[in-house]
């Protein structure tokens, strides 16, 4: 058991008894320092992922194949920004400022989901991201809606409600392309081939090797293991792929009638490690884009403050 020496053992026992009873922890409640730290790490990573996740999809807004698809993609990317803000707001209740969290992202100190370091090469990638990436996110976020920290759970409930539209629109794009010309079919199959394994990696390391899992499970931050969630995602997704005549690039995939699981082949964890340590196909590009957006937006932040100061001065004058 890893317990910070600063934590009062009596309070810790009370805290764990509360979790045992299934109670929710709120911002002003006592919590072990490690619980707070783990939540800040996990929630900020999640918020950063929403924000960085806007980039691969934003890449296709100007090239969406129809006005309908463009409206949908704009709305989806705006949602992702909103989701980032919900989670930043939840993270701030743990006593850390958003400014500091953003700083950690921009300096590379904080991580974000490995999936967003892959490129969106064709329009089919937008469909596959909605279907697989958002589909995987929904499986994870549905579990997190029952997390022990109240503000995180509430943000997840809000996000899950909106995320279903993301998945549906993605699956619709894939369905249309799968029923399209041979070239469209080939394009969507190619996108599935590229995104399948990175989507499975989104659930994080396997249970035996996940550095944080045991503690997060004990404190009910996570309610299920990475492997259990990954299996649920595969079980949900394979019938969806079959329904539209697409395959996943896994020669070992087979259905186990006894366990009712779709068993899948080995994940290339070396690739996962390379991507989360900064050497994925787009890590540098993503960070450069975030920093540029932050720097280019500085004048807006300054102008808003100047405007507010002027307004405040004016209303003081009127009052005098």
């Amino acid at each position: 058991m890893t317990v910070s020496t600063a934590d009062d053992p009596i309070k810790l026992a009370e805290f764990e008894a509360r979790l045992e009873r299934g109670e929710t922890i709120e911002p002003k409640d006592w919590m072990p320092e490690k619980y707070r730290k783990q939540l800040i790490r996990m929630m900020s990573q999640h918020a950063h992922s929403e924000i960085v996740g806007m980039l691969p999809e934003g890449n296709w807004i100007t090239r969406a194949p129809s006005l309908r698809r463009k409206m949908v993609l704009l709305a989806k990317v705006q949602d992702e920004g909103g989701h980032g803000l919900y989670i930043y707001c939840g993270t701030e209740t743990l006593g850390i400022d958003r400014e500091e969290l953003v700083e950690q992202l921009l300096t590379g100190k904080a991580k974000y989901s490995s999936i967003f370091n892959y490129p969106t090469l064709t329009w089919a990638d937008i469909g596959v991201i909605g279907w697989l990436v958002d589909g995987a996110a929904i499986v994870n976020q549905t579990m997190l809606a029952k997390t022990s920290y109240g503000p995180y759970a509430r943000a997840m409930i809000r996000i899950c409600k909106e995320e279903n539209f993301h998945k549906r629109q993605g699956y619709e794009i894939c369905t249309v392309m799968a029923k399209g010309t041979p070239a469209q079919r080939a394009m969507v199959q190619d996108a599935v081939n590229r995104w399948w394994w990175p989507s499975l990696m989104m659930f994080g390391p396997s249970d035996g090797t996940s550095p944080n899992s045991a503690e997060l499970l004990r404190w009910r931050v996570k309610r299920e293991t990475n492997d259990a969630l990954r299996q649920r995602f595969v079980n949900l997704t394979i019938p969806q792929a079959q329904a539209i005549g697409l395959t996943v690039p896994d020669p070992d995939l087979r259905y186990n009638a006894e366990t009712e699981n779709w068993e899948f082949g080995a994940i290339d964890w070396a690739e996962f490690q390379a991507v989360i340590s900064g050497n994925g196909p787009c890590n540098r590009e993503r960070m450069a884009a975030r920093r540029k957006a932050h720097d280019d937006g500085a004048w807006v932040r300054e102008a808003a403050e100047a405007h507010a100061a002027k307004q405040a001065a004016r209303s003081r004058e009127h009052a005098a």
Partner: protein, 96 residues
């Protein structure tokens, strides 16, 4: 300028439909009330349901603390006579 991204914090309350209560939705950073209202609209009212928004400076909220919960709320939980189930009525009589 004083800060990069750390405008003051505002708590947002949304009313989802006529006759519903305003409920806490989350928070936004904004320079003033008007700006907070715009940000709250963009962040917490992107879907149709919201009909009204409140924004309140977070610093203006006084909240009870978990440590006081016992003495603060006990008087509400030990008075069974404040509940209809406390009272007996003759069998067969329709009270409501």
């Amino acid at each position: 300028m004083s800060s990069e991204t750390q405008w003051p914090l505002w708590e947002v309350f949304t009313q989802e439909g006529d006759a519903a209560p305003h409920e806490h939705a989350g928070s936004v950073h904004a320079v003033d009330a008007e700006h907070a209202m715009q940000n709250a609209r963009d962040v917490y009212a992107r879907r149709g349901k919201v009909v009204s928004l409140w924004v309140v400076p977070t610093a203006s909220i006084t909240a009870s603390s978990p440590g006081d919960a016992g003495p603060l709320f006990d008087p509400g939980s030990d008075k069974a006579y404040r509940h209809p189930q406390f009272y007996k009525s003759p069998r067969g009589v329709k009270i409501f």
